[in-house]
Subunit: 357 residues, 2 copies
């Protein structure tokens, strides 16, 4: 199996820790290794043929540097000159795989998701590969644990437990009432953005539903018979100049027949904002998650997240706050407003504060 | 008039900005000059005979260094070997003044109070001096502007407007209901801890109500006829070894006859905790008070105070918070819980974290 990691996100919702040149996937959100490094290490026991990381020019150098230490599996870093959402990135990776290995199966994984049970995650991927080998498009559907309104949902035709089931439809982020209804049916899953399919299978579907993208990528020519991608850089730049941005969900998945969902329950979060961290990290005895700090003191406080810039953090009479301290910026945010951190970034852009972006 | 400034406070409620060696009065709470420097500068136009600053050994060097720039008025820094509350400090200063200037009038001022209208403050002090010259003990009573439960109150015999009035009694910090009653009478004032009296007058009263303190200080002997206080250091150390701590309020004021209150309305705060700063400093257009920061961004937030360690501060969805960022500690506190900051200091003491104290 080939592992294709989508690593082009800009991660403004993790400001001030994430910046343009160090978005979420390159950050050590949890302390220690970056999310990208964790994503790569997580699949190594599957012994993939290759790991292909698709990223953008601004982050390519840091991405390469972060993955230099990976041994035993070849790692390709593929640079997109501009971000064009997921469909072009996936189509590009699929085109390369199909050229050298027409029967190749690829797993598409975002670089910035959090997974609790890695063994179970790999088992799910293996199971998905088996289904993909029969020519299906497979999406990993996370068994929902709460009526989350921040995720898209996938409805399966039937509730088959842990087995693959045909997909009925994809549903955008629902209001709470609908999310509750979804959970009650037992047929809905969170759309994780993780997919497994044959490279030729997805290229075939892209040819059907995204003909412009398909013909743009058909121009890709390989001069050599060995896997050598640096040659492709000028071609990729030219191709990207003429294609539109589109997600694989909208471009293919919502339209294709024969999409299968594999129920997954390995503990998952897309870590979409600071408020997701307390959901996946264990709180200390005072009920706070404190990262990168010299200890903490809590007086009549709980439920806070602090990213502490290596200093002591003291909470007094506060609940459910996010505090992120960096050398040049300090964020104080209500957990419930974590999605609005991107508005700070927008405001800083308006003010031309490029040193803080 | 002699100005006696009580500067021995430890200011744990302004942690982490205030530390044992730099308590509130030595801090630049408002940016720029320290509260002690502001207190001294505020009285200079009155052309006092001397400014006497009573402090403790730990803070003496910094106190001297901060006041070196004061010209035109002699400044004494008197070191107490240990803090013994206000009565001994006042008795010590009064003993020195009485020795060289038996008719000397002294104004006792805390080093860490905030005053809005300095001209009016000086007018009030001058008025108080006139009353003190007739042998009265004078206390400045702040005309209350709200039913504050964090201050002690003084009840006057009658409501005489801006004139001095005899004091009926001193009242400890009241619950809200009582504070509201106090305000309704028009005869109650906030106890500011600022006093004006003849040095011999207060020594006489101390002799009556605090005979132990009085006889301990009677041992003070002056070898020379010139004002030279460094000679006194070993004597003060010996005297302090044998005296008890007591406030002048409890030791004398609550018992003495003939105490007069001068109503004062120059805009005052004892700056007792971080939450007092927003009361006396003007908020920015977003409703926050931001000190020592590289600007701020506010999204759906208001009423916060940030002491920013020279960095950009961003508020998202938060109200009425206090955030204080220093190189080794970060405080996040609800305004309403500002009094509990001292509990953090207590906890750090328990843990033996002396580097943070």
């Amino acid at each position: 199996m080939y592992i294709v990691i989508l690593a082009g996100g800009s991660g403004t919702r993790f400001w001030p820790l994430s910046r343009k040149s160090t978005p979420k996937q390159l950050m050590s959100v949890f302390g220690g290794k970056s999310m990208l490094q964790r994503t790569v290490e997580r699949v190594l026991p599957l012994q993939p043929k290759r790991v292909m990381v698709v990223t953008n020019a601004l982050q390519a150098a840091e991405t390469r540097s972060q993955l230099e230490y990976i041994k035993g599996v070849p790692v390709d870093v593929i640079e997109e000159p501009v971000g064009r959402n997921t469909a072009p990135a996936i189509a590009l990776a699929a085109s390369i795989i199909a050229r050298f290995d027409p029967d190749g199966i690829m797993a598409v994984l975002p670089a910035d998701h959090y997974i609790v049970d890695e063994e179970r995650f790999r088992d799910t991927l293996s199971k998905a590969r088996t289904v993909a080998e029969s020519g299906k498009l497979v999406t990993l559907g996370i068994t929902p644990t709460r009526p989350e309104t921040g995720y898209g949902y996938i409805e399966a035709e039937s509730d088959r437990g842990a087995e693959a089931a045909p997909v009925l439809r994809f549903v955008e982020k629902p209001p709470l009432e609908r999310a509750l209804e979804f959970l009650a049916t037992g047929r809905f899953y969170w759309n994780s953005g993780m997919f497994v399919w044959g490279a030729c299978t997805i290229l075939d579907q892209i040819g059907r539903f995204m003909p412009e993208l398909s013909s743009a990528l058909a121009k890709l020519s390989f001069e050599r018979d060995v896997w050598e991608l640096t040659d492709l850089k000028p071609q990729i730049e030219e191709i990207y100049g003429g294609i539109k941005g589109e997600s694989i969900d909208f471009g293919v998945m919502e339209k294709a027949q024969d999409v299968q969902v594999i129920p997954a329950s390995f503990g998952w979060s897309d870590v979409g904002s600071w408020s997701a961290l307390p959901e996946v990290m264990e709180a200390d005895q005072d009920g706070h998650v404190v990262i990168n700090a010299q200890g903490s003191v809590s007086v009549a406080s709980d439920g806070c997240l602090a990213y502490g810039a290596g200093k002591m953090v003291a909470f007094v009479g506060v609940k459910d706050l996010i505090v992120v301290d960096t050398p040049d910026a300090l964020l104080v945010c209500a957990k419930s407003a974590a999605q609005d951190v991107k508005k700070v970034v927008e405001e800083l852009e308006r003010r031309g504060k490029s040193d803080l972006l």
